[in-house]
């Protein structure tokens, strides 16, 4: 099967890859680029575990074809911390026990960062509705919501 050549940036690095036309961005991130921090929970855009940023937009990478990534800037969980320094959201998730199994965590962190970028002071209800596209089966969301609100407070310097 002929494969397509695609150039993009991932976490600021220039990347090139070959993909089948039917492969998703998620498939390529995980299987070709070996960035396995982005997870597949459903493959149908229902669980949010594969959330990434594409040109600043929050996207389920299982719903985007890899060929559509041509020329795009993609951000994944692997690019969230600055070296050893965790992003405040990452730190607060650990401190608040906001993760258990951790399979949904990368997607939720990417989605939560996108929320705080557009709304630095969300209410609890705004956090809950923004994260409604990210399924977590372990926590009941209580500690996740606490961690996001606390990270928002810290990032605002409040």
């Amino acid at each position: 099967m002929a494969r397509n050549h695609v150039s993009a940036t991932v976490n600021g690095d220039q990347v090139e890859f070959l993909c089948e036309t039917g492969q998703t961005l998620l498939d390529v991130l995980r299987d070709e680029l070996r960035l396995t921090g982005t997870k597949e929970g459903c493959g149908t855009g229902d669980c949010g575990a594969c959330s990434v940023m594409v040109d600043g937009r929050l996207v389920c990478s299982c719903l985007m074809l890899a060929v559509e990534a041509e020329g795009k800037a993609i951000q994944t969980i692997e690019g969230m911390s600055a070296g050893e320094a965790l992003h405040p959201l990452q730190r607060k998730f650990v401190e608040h026990a906001a993760l258990q199994c951790g399979i949904c965590t990368p997607g939720i962190l990417i989605a939560a960062r996108a929320l705080l970028a557009r709304n630095p002071d969300p209410s609890e209800a705004e956090v809950r509705f923004w994260l409604a596209g990210n399924l977590c089966r372990c926590t009941g969301y209580h500690k996740i919501v606490d961690a996001v609100l606390d990270a928002a407070r810290e990032m605002r310097g409040a």
Binding site: V127, R128, F129, R137
Partner: protein
């Protein structure tokens, strides 16, 4: 021989605090490696062909076209696996039969449900593997199917297994039946108990199967070498149990299979059983290449175990002053395609919250054309308790009693004789109920269309075989190798905390990891709420063994008798002023001299932990019912639970919140929907709706600590209990909000709306 370690009350420095979990940073940075994150050079991709029929005889399977497709390296079918005789083995709370295990992983005579595997291929890419599946030709003789448990029990129902005769019935029946087993528990004189009763309530309930809903689909990677050794990386709740099952169905020696557990992306009982693992090893053996198999979400729903749906009948008799005189239940549980539903556990959990003189529970384990059920958090208990706690609530109302006071009046306590066997030891049900009654939530005001509900749950908790190794490294740090999987709850943190507490060192000094199956001896899987109890006990034993060795080394170095050396505050010190005095030694100092004093210092435990302490929980929920849409909104939720001792309270709260959230989903939305054709209609998260963040309120938690006398820190376990009460608590709250008693789960908007409309129509 079994091991118990008595509870000792002592001042604690680390146990009961909230340090950061050792797997936390890897999980927030994407470094943590789950089942699908492992790859090997040269690996193939394996995919499974599944039955499109609910019930059919397999007349032939022709794989020749698939094998001829370029890039296809191996195909396996029933021909590649040995027939297995009936042989039972324990898997978590449930028993399995290898005759059925081998048939569930790969159909033999018949396909028994939509999604039943009947061939698997390994190819150079996923797209080639998928193309190969489409080339496999299967000839079916389609048979009538049966989905509903009540229909399946009737004479003349389509039979899944023509050789299955109901066990537990005397004399042995002369006709085969879908009822695999009848069981009965009880004590006292039921008829006399009901005769004494002044009020009797008898009701029937029905529930649908629900799925564990872990977000990580099953995934594994197998590599079989020509010398007969296999390696397997898989997402599992019990790598030793998976190894045993794979060895059995592949007819390999146990020690030739090495299983490395990956991080597990949720299990809740659903990852107690093998599915693709033996297929991946067989494909690797045939192709001489590593084979990776990742299930899709649709396959997870169609092919892996949900919890059963059930039909439940409950009858309770009571005096006017609120004493229960008799209690009876019939539990008819769907087992799926093979026997082995959790009806046994459900039977024992149905009434054990109460001290009852006259009880009988009859259970039926019934095969139907659905995927074989698997354990799901407190397997079976939520289903039985939905019925029983609904009737308890109705009874309290009829008697004009507060529902918590009614429960307290009949509550099980230390010395209560259970109807399934043991007398209860010290338990915290009364304390849990009292804490719930004292909670401000219980007295908070309610608005229009709002109602409050209460329900309670009981679970045994378990122990069993457990191994661990604690090694003192040359710089005085410690590595703790555990045989019990950390299924997400944070048990690695809890184990390291108990070791640090014993040794008197900082938590960060102990690095816990889960070892592979070749690094430790057999360890049971993480299920039944056993990890913190059993593995915790093993860790304490290993730490105490290490302390003993440390004392002896110091005695040798300092040339004093061993009795003169005490281990206090993380150092070897003179036991008291009356013994030979010497300069204290730290862990690091002793470790550095290890080579000169007899070699590396380690502690081990290989135990069969017994003495698990039962757990009880009480939930309070407020709901608001939208009478226009039938939608039920959870306004407030409080979980009260006796966990014995919370080693890490934040992670215990997380178990209570997560279990309650799963129970809320079970109550309000989740269900398997089948068409008349026996095909599952909602195998995806869009149509099988688990709770999302905006569905839920904050979930308050109250941790009650009545120590288990058979654990050094008093641990009971906590993961199972919180999923038990929500279904009943929410049904009771809806009744208080609307006056409508819902006895068919889930209480989804169409069901609630229909109940509202029916009630209005009945009123005229």
């Amino acid at each position: 021989m079994s091991t118990m370690l008595k509870y000792q009350e002592k001042e604690l420095k680390i146990v009961g605090t909230r340090p950061l979990r050792p797997d936390g940073v890897d999980k927030v940075t994407g470094r943590a490696r789950f089942g699908a994150d492992y790859n090997l050079p040269g690996q193939l991709i394996g995919k499974v062909l599944r039955s499109p029929h609910a019930h059919a005889r397999i007349k032939s399977i022709d794989t020749s076209a698939a094998l001829a497709l370029p890039g296809v390296k191996a195909v396996v079918t029933r021909e590649d696996f040995a027939e297995m005789p009936d042989e039972m083995a324990a898997v978590g709370e449930l028993m399995i039969n290898f005759r059925d295990v081998t048939r569930n992983m790969m159909a033999r005579e018949k396909v028994l449900y939509d999604g039943h595997p009947l061939a698997a291929v390994a190819a150079v890419s996923e797209s080639v593997a998928r193309a190969a599946l489409a080339l496999i030709k299967v000839e079916y003789e389609i048979l009538p199917h049966v989905i509903d448990v009540v229909a399946a029990m009737k004479a003349g129902a389509p039979l899944l297994n023509e050789k299955q005769y109901t066990a537990g019935v005397k004399p042995k029946p002369d006709h085969p039946s879908n009822v695999a087993k009848r069981l009965e528990y009880g004590h006292g004189d039921l008829a006399a108990g009901f005769k004494q009763a002044e009020v009797i309530i008898e009701r029937e309930f029905n529930t649908k199967p629900v799925h564990q809903g872990y977000i990580e689909p099953q995934a594994c990677l197998a590599s079989y070498s020509a010398d007969g050794q296999a390696e397997l990386w898989t997402s599992t709740q019990g790598h030793f149990v998976f190894r045993a099952q794979c060895a059995k169905v592949l007819q390999m020696e146990v020690s030739r299979i090495r299983v490395t557990p990956t991080e597990i992306g949720g299990g809740f009982g659903g990852k107690n059983n093998i599915y693709n693992e033996p297929l991946a090893i067989a494909l690797s053996r045939k192709s001489n290449r590593p084979v990776k198999m990742v299930t899709t979400r649709e396959e997870v729903f169609r092919g892996t175990g949900p919890t059963p749906g059930a039909n439940v009948k409950v009858k309770i008799g009571c005096t006017r002053d609120g004493k229960i005189t008799a209690a009876e239940a019939e539990l008819n549980f769907q087992a799926g395609a093979f026997p082995g539903s959790p009806v046994n556990q459900a039977s024992m959990c149905a009434f054990t919250r109460y001290d009852l003189a006259n009880v009988r529970v009859v259970g039926h384990d019934v095969t139907v054309n659905r995927p074989k059920v698997a354990a799901y958090r407190a397997p079976g208990a939520p289903i039985a308790v939905f019925g029983v706690e609904s009737v308890i609530d109705e009874m309290a109302k009829k008697l004009g009693m507060d529902p918590i006071d009614f429960r307290l009046k009949n509550a099980a306590k230390e010395g209560t004789q259970t109807y399934y066997g043991p007398k209860l030891g010290p338990v915290g049900y009364v304390q849990t109920l009292e804490a719930a009654r004292a909670h401000p939530h219980y007295r908070a005001p309610l608005g229009p269309n709002q109602g409050r509900g209460v329900a309670t749950g009981f679970w045994f908790n378990i122990g069993n075989e457990t191994t661990c190794s604690l090694n003192l490294q040359e710089d005085g740090t410690l590595t703790l190798m555990l045989g019990t999987i950390d299924v997400a709850g944070g048990s690695r943190a809890s184990m390291a905390m108990m070791v640090a507490e014993e040794l008197g060192v900082e938590f960060e000094r102990v690095r816990p990891i889960v070892g592979d199956t070749s690094s430790l001896g057999f360890n049971f899987l993480t299920a039944g709420s056993r990890s913190t109890f059993a593995s915790g006990m093993a860790c304490v034993i290993a730490a105490r063994q290490m302390i003993e060795k440390l004392r002896q080394r110091v005695a040798k170095i300092r040339e004093v008798p061993a009795e003169a050396v005490a281990w206090k505050d993380g150092r070897a010190q003179p036991a008291d002023a009356g013994v030979a005095q010497f300069a204290p030694m730290t862990l690091a100092e002793i470790a550095r001299m290890g080579g000169k004093t007899g070699g590396t210092i380690a502690g081990h435990a290989e135990i069969n932990a017994q003495g698990a302490g039962p757990g009880f929980g009480a939930h309070i929920v407020d709901v608001e019912v939208d009478k226009q849409t039938g939608a039920v909104k959870i306004l407030r939720y409080t979980v009260v639970q006796d966990v014995g001792k919370a080693i890490h309270p934040a992670y215990v709260e997380g178990q209570m919140q997560g279990g309650a959230a799963q129970g809320i989903g079970w109550a309000l939305n989740e269900e398997y929907v089948y068409g008349d054709d026996g095909i599952l209609q909602n195998p995806g998260f869009l149509d099988y709706r688990i709770p999302v963040a905006s569905d839920l309120p904050r979930i308050d938690t109250v941790i009650v600590e009545v120590p288990n006398p058979n654990h050094p820190y008093g641990v009971r376990g906590c993961g199972e209990v919180p999923i038990i009460p929500p279904m009943a608590a929410i049904a009771n709250a809806i009744e208080n909000a609307t006056g409508l008693r819902l006895r068919e789960q889930p209480f989804s908007p169409p069901r609630v709306l229909k109940a509202i409309d029916d009630a209005a129509a009945a009123k005229g």
